[in-house]
């Protein structure tokens, strides 16, 4: 299916958030995830089923401060 992940279109076979994070090599314990502007609790990553056309945002903590518009959600 096709998802928009952090602003980029992406074709994926991942069916859940946890699978998607694993595919992207992202450690689930350090991120927050939003699907279609709704925050998904970490405990639900495993069971939350993604749908074609979903917009997913994956964020984490960076040094800052600095306003870096490229990485703004």
């Amino acid at each position: 299916m096709r998802l928009k992940v952090n602003g980029e279109d992406r074709e994926t076979k991942s069916e859940t958030i946890l699978q998607l994070l694993k595919d992207l090599n992202v450690i689930p314990e350090r991120v927050a995830v939003e699907v279609n502007l709704r925050i998904i609790k970490r405990a639900d990553f495993e069971n939350y089923r993604l749908k074609d056309g979903d917009t997913v945002e994956i964020v984490y903590f960076v040094g800052g401060g600095i306003v870096d518009f490229k990485s703004q959600i």
Partner: protein
Amino acid sequence: MEDKLIIRGIEFKSRLWVGTGKYKDFEETARAVKASGADVVTVAVRRVNVVDRKSENLLDYIDPKKYKILPNTAGCYTVEDALRYSRLAREAGVSEMIKLEVIGDEKTLFPDVIGLLKATEILAKEGFIVFPYTNDDPIMAKRLEDAGAAAVMPLGAPIGSGLGIRNPYNIKIILEAAKVPIIVDAGVGTASDATVAMELGCDAVLINTAIASAKDPIAMAEAMKHAVIAGRLAYKAGRIPKKLYATASSPIEGML
């Protein structure tokens, strides 16, 4: 003599809080944070780079078990954005603390205090421990306190300007009226600025650029640590009143 900073039951080991922006790399960030003696470290919330996955993460260098991670909403210009970032930060992190920034203007990075007040009210109701970054305006500081801010963070001068505490009299008025801790955020340029803030009676100081952009950030971090301790001690000790004329400090008695 116990002199601990406690906010909403959370005990803070140091009155110097530090930011993590503008460092050369994570290693330098970690060394500067360590040299500063701070236990509060502010961070921003940003997209994970899913295209080019680097394995390194700030939290590999700043251990959240050792430091209190204080996420901020830097770069947010609307109430909606600030709320969104705050809620994401709570999910990504381990605490309810949020350094709330609603920026009004790109050039000055001054806060949009109307948006800030709204966001503070909403987040406080949602159980966040809100630290709003605001102007050195005594009335607004009081309003933020009434809206549920856990502490208020007035600027000393614009973010990254290094101009020091531009209006110490306003900070003094804010301190007199405040029932919550007052933490100067932004404007510190060098160690004496941090001391001035603490001598005024502020509960803590947050510093990023003055350390990160110093020629030697590690040495400046250590200087700031001592500056904050010195300022706090001087405040507690109580300075002498200023007088126009001299007062001899050696006795007249026994002179030839």
